[in-house]
Amino acid sequence: MNAHVKNTHRYFSMSAVVAGIPIVMVGIGGLIPLVYLLTKAFSAEGSALVDIVFRWRNARLFLNTLLLTVGVLVLDLLIATPAAWLTSRVNLKGRRLFTVLCALPLAIPGYVMAYALLALGGNTGIVAQLFGTSIPRLSGYWGALLALSAYTSPYLFLNLRTALLGLDPSLEESARSLGYKSHQTFFLVILPQLRPAFYASGLLISLHVLGDFGVVSLMRYETFSYALYTEYMLSFEHVYAAWLALMLLAFTACLLYLEAKLLNRVALHRAGRGTSRQLSQIQLGTWHTPAHLYLSLVAFVTVVVPAGAIFLWIFRGFDPKALQGLLNALIGSLSVAIPAGILCALLAVPFAYIGVRHPSRISNALERVGYVVYAIPPLAFALSLIFFLLHTASFIYKTLPVLIYACTLHFLAEAIGPVRSSLYQASPNLEEAARSLGYPRIQAFFRTLFPILMRGMLTATALVFLATMKELPLTFLLSPAGYETLALNVWSYTTEAMFAEAAPYALAILLFSGVFVSVLIRQEEEI
């Protein structure tokens, strides 16, 4: 008995060291912008600091941000929870199509979503032209709420779906056999098991709302990012912006602490003997139609309406010359989005691993390094990297690998959630069993855990791919001169009110994201 305990202990600490190497590397990567922000912040002048950073208006803006964050979280829950359940656990016709549709809003840049929703209302709006009566234009809190919820809901949807697909059916069967009704089973047995997925995506969504400027500015709802963005737009030195960014990071740290407290002692893997069976699918019967109606409504509001509005841009005076750069931009987009997606999924494994398998204060903190990096304003991140590279390795400055590195580091947080969710469902006994059968540590990991993690890793790849496809600030400052992406073109044309020319690029992002995500979903379902 003693020998067994000792052996286990040694095995765990070794694996923690192996997992620790990439984490330390990411940590160092994250330290660069952090040191940069701190250096900037402490070169500020006292009086201006009070005028710009510590003024009451910022507190009011912060309150607005909180209201919006809570609203978006609630609305996302209502959109994504039923959608994730229906597309993973139910014998629904057109499951794959709806899965792709529910993930797709993530491919629409936030500001494009806002433009599209704004185009519906008003005297000249799409609704007025189609039906002859105008509806008021969306704006303010409700406009921002709808646009942000529409495009952040896939974070929750994809995380939940991964978790739902990996659930152990025996728990539900036990609940049923104990006399639980099916809705009781859902709320008392299934939902609690989804906690890691809820927390991880809740964090991501909150960080998105905190950092968003594109949507809230177009919807004319002022949040904290208004202060941050104004400062980044107006000053060339970013001294006070550094303070605002640090305030944002402090708030992120609070959120992370909260999440860590909530997640404490979650153990969701099978405790008994044997392995988890394939999930049985629930027969929906007469509920088929309402389920389809619900999913269609969600897809209509979050995908069809924005995609349709973008498509209508073409009729604003299209110039075919704008198509010339399409292929080039597509190659540019894919050559960063695909490697970043895969790298993030791979890097997320050690992060999730030490957090789940070796819970301690240190590992909890390390696991959350990714989120801190995510919360650093991308502009500050890019500028710190420029400074660092020019003083250390200027020969790689403005090359594609640097951009891929930056996107990987920045979006890593999006990948950790799904991987962690699947890891929670894997029993540590598996690795131990493989070890006792004589497999070396690493091989034991790849033989037992890796296949289980695959599902989470595919979701992670999809999330990061979608995010990178529409990335702007890092691409702006770190890409090689002459490099182009679809998102850069959409931005460039919409900025100059050339919506017709922007349309094919925005539609190409949607199309290729759709194709990529459906391939991943097919893979994921086969696991």
Binding site: R316, I331, I386, L390, A481, L488, V519
Partner: protein
């Protein structure tokens, strides 16, 4: 089963490695940082490449971000030229002594209003602040004569503006210089009290006008023209205030040569090309901007340059560098 899954990665990895290789191999060329959008710049750059055989690589980003990048890069910048959307950003780079003085032969191509007093940058095109309005809801004779009239009760909740926009802030800076700090503050407070609606930038102002959300707006002149290009019935119009009104400010986009540039000769060729009749014709005919040289066929949708300069307030763009003062003012009245 497990191997099947890895097949995805087997296909994808070689492809992405190939992409990476393509991306990193590039020849020695002229590199430009452009704060002007690709959509406005690319055709004329292509033309330059064709005529001179010099290959040009452009990094496009927001003007302020590029200025910040240049300040971070210092003398290690790979860029030869900085082409900015507004004079303020050029001033910030100029202050750090990162620009090389341009030769007289280039500077004298444009009127003195359209270049830096010390010769560190030169304007490439001009744009005007205008009064955009809804012809359905505002009759010609009701239109305000001055930007100061917009604080009157008749315009309550009917005006849209974009306080975070660099062009708007340039206008406020010029307002302060022309009428003094107090009057400028009074106007800003009056506008705020009169319910002026804040928009993210110029384009949303035009869209809000068409949608019926506002009846008047304060954008740059070319956005509406681009909407009209696609749809001549687009329900919005624009005009100027009376002559010399601060609301008719003329602002510029400009370009400067970086000291760190490795191929100054080619860089100056590009600057010269941008001030040539051909490029200027493109700016006015295709991009709807004002040319900065004479001898260009005027765009029928624009005023001739001489008439525009008569309407515009007398104001030197070199006085435009007090952005901090403007921002402090906007913060004090809680518009930012």
């Amino acid at each position: 089963m497990f191997n099947n899954r890895l097949r995805l990665f087997n296909y994808v990895l070689p492809i992405l490695l190939l992409f990476t290789a393509i991306g990193t191999v590039h020849a020695e060329t002229l590199t430009i940082y452009s704060g002007r959008s690709k959509s406005l710049v690319e055709p004329i750059i292509k033309q330059f490449e064709k005529e001179t055989g010099i290959q040009v690589k452009v990094s496009y980003a927001n003007t302020t971000q590029l200025a910040a990048t240049l300040l971070t890069e210092g003398d290690k910048s790979p860029a030869a030229l900085f082409w900015a959307q507004d004079a303020g950003a050029l001033g910030a780079v100029s202050k750090k002594a990162m620009f090389e003085k341009l030769p007289e032969s280039i500077l004298t191509k444009v009127p003195s209003d359209f270049r830096d007093a010390d010769g560190f940058w030169v304007a490439t095109s001009g744009r005007a602040r205008v009064l955009a309005y809804s012809p359905e809801r505002v009759k010609m004779e009701e239109l305000p004569k001055s930007v100061f009239d917009l604080t009157q009760p008749v315009w309550k909740n009917r005006v849209g503006w974009a306080p975070t926009n660099a062009s708007f802030q340039a206008f406020v800076t010029s307002l302060r210089m022309q009428v003094g700090e107090e009057k400028a503050e009074e106007w800003l407070r009056g506008m705020k009290a009169n319910g002026a609606k804040k928009y993210a930038k110029n384009t949303p102002i035009i869209e809000a006008l068409a949608a019926g959300e506002i009846d008047l707006g304060l954008p740059n002149h070319y956005y509406l023209l681009r909407f009209k290009k696609g749809n001549s019935n687009f329900p919005a119009a624009q005009t100027f205030f009376q002559a010399d009104d601060p609301g008719n400010l003329v602002n510029v986009a400009g370009i400067g040569l970086l000291k760190s540039s490795k191929n100054k000769e080619s860089a100056l060729k590009l600057v010269e090309f941008l001030l040539s009749a051909k490029a200027q014709q493109y700016f006015t005919s295709d991009v709807f901007e004002y040319p900065v040289i004479d001898g260009v066929i005027p765009n029928a949708n624009l005023l001739p340059l001489s008439e525009l300069l008569q309407l515009a307030p007398t104001f030197n763009l070199n006085e435009m560098d007090d952005l901090d003062g403007t921002v402090n003012l906007l913060r004090r009245v809680e518009i930012l």
